[in-house]
Amino acid sequence: MYDPTVARLTYRALLGRRRAAILFVLPVLLVAIAVAVRAFAGADDDVASGVLGGFAIATMVPLIGVIAGTGAIGPEIDDGSIVYLLAKPVKRPTIIFTKLIVAIGVTMLFSAVPTMLAGFILNGNGGQIAVAYTIAALVASIAYSALFLLLGTVSRHAVVFGLVYALVWEALFGSLVPGARTLSVQQWSLSVAEKVAGEGLVTSDVGLPLATVLLVGVTVVATWYAGQKLRALKLAGEE
C-alpha cells in the first residue's frame, strides 16, 4: 500500500524550493507569539490555552492541512503530469494512500511540533496543556489531510474550498451556530485533547466516542473515495 518512489516525489513537490516557505512561516509565527506572550504575561494556563486553541488549532493547523493536503496532489493534476504517474503499474488507491501518508507527515511536522514547542514556552506544559494540544494537532492533521487530499482530487479549486471550510464553516458558523460545531474536525480533535488536559482548560462540544467515530469515519471514507476518484480521473483544460 505504500510506494517509496511516489512518497519521495510527493515530498519533493511539497517541500521543494519556495513552496515550503509558507509552511515554515506559520510555525515560526506561532513560536514567536508564544515567546512574546510569555515575556509579556508570564506563565498562565488560561493564556496558554487561549493562544494554542485560538491560533494554533483554529487557524494554523487547518491552513497547513490545506496546503499539504491539496498540495500533495493538486498541482500534479493541474499541470497534467499526473498521467505519467497513473501510467505506471501502481494501484490508484496506493498512490492516494502514499500521498496521504506524506501529507499527514508534513502536516504533523509543521503543526504538532511547533504547537508542542509553543506550549512548553508558554507555561512549561502546566496542566498538560502542551501535550493536550499537541495530541489535538496530531489527530486533526490526519483528518484534515485526508479531507483536503480528497478535495484536491475532486476539484480544481480545492484550496479555495478547503479555506471556505476552514474559515467560514469552522470559524464563522462554528462560533454562531452551535450545531455546526458537531461537524468540525477542530472540535473532534479538541474532544481528544479534553481527555488529556487538566480541569476545564480545554473544552469541546463533541463527546469523545462520537468524535472518535467521526474522525476515523471521515479519514477512511475520504481516502477511499479519493482512490475511487483517481481511478476515473478526467484531465480537463484550464476553465
Binding site: I33, F40, G54, F55, T59, G71, G74, V160, L163, L172
Partner: protein, 302 residues
C-alpha cells in the same frame, strides 16, 4: 491600395510576388484605450463576468452573502418599531464580514494576475501600446474597484433601507459617508496586498493560501495577542498591536477618524495621535504594494 500584383523585374529565376499585405490606416485607439480595456476586463473578471459559469459561482456567492446580510439587518430594523437607527454601524459591517472579503481577495487576486504569469501571457499585453505602469494601475484599480463594489453595495443597501425606514436623514448620511470612506480605504489596502502576494506566488493554489495567510493569519495572531494584552492589564499595548494586521489597521483608522466603535478587546481603539500612525501605515502599505508590483513586472520573461 490598388492590386498591382505584378512582379518585380529581375532575373528570370527569382521574382518577388506582392501578395497584398496592407498597412492599417484605421483609427488607432492608443494607450489609454488599451488601459481602459484591461481595467474593465479585469473588473468584470473579478466577478466572473465574461468567464465560464463555474468561475462565476464563488464571487457571486460571496457578493450575495454580503448583500443578504445587509438585507437581513435592514429587515430587522424595519420590523422592530422602536428602533431609531440600524442595529449595525456602517463602519462595523466590513469588520464583521472580513472572512468573506478575505476569501474574495484570496480567490480573485490570483485569478487576476497569477494566470497571466503562469501562462506567460504578460508579454502579449506588453506587445500592445501599454507600459508597465498601465498594466499595474489597471490591475490594481480593477481589484480595488471590485472590492469597493463588494463592500460598498451592502452599505448602499443599508443606507437605502435606513432611509425607507424613516431614520434621521442627516445622521444616516453622515454615517454612510464615513462607512464608504472606510471601505474605500479597505478596498485599496486589501487589493494592494492581495495582488502583491498573488503576483509573487503564481503557482495555482499557493497564491490563494498565501493571500489568506497574510490577511487572516495576521488577524488571528494580532487578535489573540491583543486579547491576552487586555486580560493582563496592559491596555496601552492593545492599540499598538493593531498595526500588525490589515483589518485591524482599517479598524484603527476608522475608530480614530471616522467615528467607528472599535472591535479591539475592551472596545478602545487608538486615539487621534495613534490614528495618524495607523493612517500613515495604511498609506505606506498601499504605496509599498504599488512599488513592489512595479518592481515585479520590471522583468517578466517569456
Amino acid at each position: 491600395m490598388s492590386a498591382d500584383t505584378g512582379t518585380a523585374t529581375g532575373s528570370e529565376a527569382s521574382r518577388i510576388h506582392n501578395i497584398g499585405y496592407r498597412s492599417y490606416d484605421g483609427v488607432r485607439l492608443g494607450r489609454s484605450y488599451a488601459r481602459r480595456s484591461l481595467y474593465s476586463q479585469s473588473l468584470r473578471g473579478a466577478f466572473g463576468l465574461g468567464r465560464s459559469a463555474k468561475s462565476k459561482v464563488l464571487p457571486m456567492l460571496l457578493c450575495g452573502v454580503m448583500c443578504l446580510v445587509a438585507l437581513i439587518i435592514v429587515a430587522v430594523a424595519m420590523a422592530a418599531p422602536t428602533m431609531t437607527k440600524l442595529p449595525v454601524r456602517y463602519t462595523s459591517f466590513a469588520i464583521y464580514l472580513q472572512a468573506v472579503i478575505g476569501l474574495f481577495v484570496a480567490s480573485q487576486a490570483p485569478q487576476s494576475v497569477s494566470r497571466d504569469l503562469r501562462f506567460k501571457s504578460v508579454p502579449l499585453y506588453f506587445s500592445r501600446p501599454i507600459e508597465r505602469v498601465d498594466y499595474v494601475l489597471a490591475k490594481f484599480g480593477a481589484m480595488a474597484s471590485a472590492l469597493l463594489v463588494l463592500t460598498g453595495l451592502p452599505l448602499v443597501i443599508l443606507y437605502v433601507g435606513a432611509l425607507l425606514a424613516k431614520f434621521d436623514f442627516a445622521d444616516q448620511t453622515k454615517w454612510f459617508g464615513q462607512g464608504m470612506v472606510s471601505v474605500a480605504l479597505l478596498s485599496v489596502l486589501f487589493a494592494g496586498l492581495g495582488l502583491v502576494v498573488a503576483a509573487l506566488t503564481p503557482r495555482r493554489g499557493f497564491g490563494v493560501a498565501a493571500v489568506i495567510a497574510v490577511l487572516t493569519i495576521t488577524y488571528g495572531a494580532v487578535s489573540t495577542v491583543q486579547g491576552i494584552a487586555w486580560t493582563t492589564g496592559s491596555a496601552g499595548a492593545v492599540s499598538w498591536l493593531g498595526l500588525f494586521s490589515p483589518i485591524t489597521l482599517i479598524d484603527g483608522v476608522q475608530t480614530a477618524f471616522l467615528g467607528a466603535s472599535s472591535a479591539f478587546p475592551g472596545g478602545e481603539g487608538p486615539g487621534a495621535a495613534a490614528g495618524v500612525v495607523y493612517l500613515l501605515v495604511v498609506l505606506a502599505l498601499v504605496a509599498g504594494s504599488y512599488a513592489v508590483l512595479m518592481r515585479r513586472y520590471r522583468r517578466v520573461g517569456l
